[in-house]
Symmetry: C2
Subunit: 348 residues, 2 copies
Amino acid sequence: MGEFDLIERFFTRPTPRAVLGVGDDCALLQPGAGMQLAISSDMLVSGRHFFADTDPRGLGHKCLAVNLSDLAACGASPLAFTLALALPEADAHWLEPFSQGLLALADAHGCELIGGDTTRGPLNICITVFGEVPAGQALLRSAAQVGDDIYVSGTLGDASLALAQLLWLRQHEGGAQAAQPASAPVLLDGADLARARQRLEQPTPRLALGQALRGVAHAAADISDGLLGDLGHILQRSQVGASLDCAAAFGLLAAHRYSAGAAALLGRTELRSTVLQHVLGGGDDYELVFTAPPHLGAAVQAAARTSATAVTRIGRIEAAAGLRLLDAQGRRIDAQDFHSFDHFTAGG
Amino acid sequence: MGEFDLIERFFTRPTPRAVLGVGDDCALLQPGAGMQLAISSDMLVSGRHFFADTDPRGLGHKCLAVNLSDLAACGASPLAFTLALALPEADAHWLEPFSQGLLALADAHGCELIGGDTTRGPLNICITVFGEVPAGQALLRSAAQVGDDIYVSGTLGDASLALAQLLWLRQHEGGAQAAQPASAPVLLDGADLARARQRLEQPTPRLALGQALRGVAHAAADISDGLLGDLGHILQRSQVGASLDCAAAFGLLAAHRYSAGAAALLGRTELRSTVLQHVLGGGDDYELVFTAPPHLGAAVQAAARTSATAVTRIGRIEAAAGLRLLDAQGRRIDAQDFHSFDHFTAGG
């Protein structure tokens, strides 16, 4: 028995919902009658999407969470996934917690591991996830309509805030991190950083909300690359524009609700622009941005209640192309100041 | 527009069969009524599954071919695939031929690229392929029955022969490759090596044969890791054993049919054991090994004719566990001499 046969034991589970699971040339899946299969694939690379020394349990969770978040954005229910894994070595001390984090989230959503591949190579995790959605009911990026309200689930910016701080701390390892020099980014204290970091490393896919929004929302996308970027995808594919209320967006930052110290820090006038950049441009939050017609506002709130997920109205879809950022007084803010997070051009 | 948006242009094609293709959070696919979805995922890593300087057009072909081969082994018809790609850099000179090789094979089988992911990282290609098969008709590894004949499609051993020679030539680069020392493996001449190499680098997935074998074959698998290894999977999952006619297996080596020089070389008595190891244990041929009851022998040959794919009977399924190798006189050969190709333990 090879080293990698042993590894596969960490990942072999019963697959009662799939027709055929791990161990044959193919897995077999049968969506329910009248259902369409929603499919998404994400590849996470060490040193780019996560630090090489990231806690493997959290990493297992995150790899699947980012894929489940794509199902959520379509309003699909999870069915199954495949896992392809390249590993520098077969290290049980890494694989066991990784598989535990991965499979705990999978079990929580009834999402079965039905196949995949394992090989030696630089650490690379590629998951393809399958969900089902009633034919014609998937929430699409292309379905926004002029007059729609724009909503965001949960909170935004904490993952990005945590990442910026972790990167800064790593760059100043060995003494400097105790101090907080003027050139540093917004720096949260220990417990506040831990809360923000939890958002970065173990995001919550908004599956219940996505499903509750079927028949209510028009367009939806998950926020993996930043609100401006992902809302931009909706605008582009729907051939519409939008105005965004930056004051409402600023209220989305959960870090406000941390300690009094964090609230004071984030309230500092000279930092507000930086903080707003995290909220509007920061990636990795995996909340949903969606649009719905004003007359379904009560239905949106009902979907939020049944899924126990807060939603905040932050803007409106308009016919004029482009995205207009407005301050609390309704004045335009220059969008050039905010950039969407891009895994390719950004470090990390 | 980022560097990777440009890359995606190489891979963006119309997807008339899919409900929704590239560009949303998920792709949407709807298998036909009464159909099951067959799913397979393979990850290919530079330096392990292919040389870093491999011709990108052939590599594009091979990445999809190995996945289509899994569909063939199930008797499934290709529908679509996702491509996740980690690249050290966005090099159009590499990406254009890679996408051409990939999409030419995809088009030949009506297999649509419906989504995926692109990121920077050590070269890694992960494809997940989707096919459909009428419910209950998939060919499974677990379905072999005592008394079944064992067949192999096409020819075996050439890919492995080519790989061994290419590895040897690389180890002896810079002068020594002109000579043919006694310690070298079986060495084919230029045109013969090119033919064998074609089998290694651009394998042909046996899709038509796999589909023609629905309702005829019992068990099937594709030969990616070597005949002994992949037949072993069938035996293990079907809880049966088998006898293999090594003389018939030796006849599977296509290199016999190359030049007179190759035929003479491969006929040399002292090399026969080495050659047989390539046939029985060599990977990367992507032929099918399958079993069928003797009374359906004519139906097997009819499936071979309709799919224009040669098949050769090489053994029989037996109740006694284990795999017995027999020579032309029906005498046992020690199986310990032959080892299945293993991507993890093998070099390359």
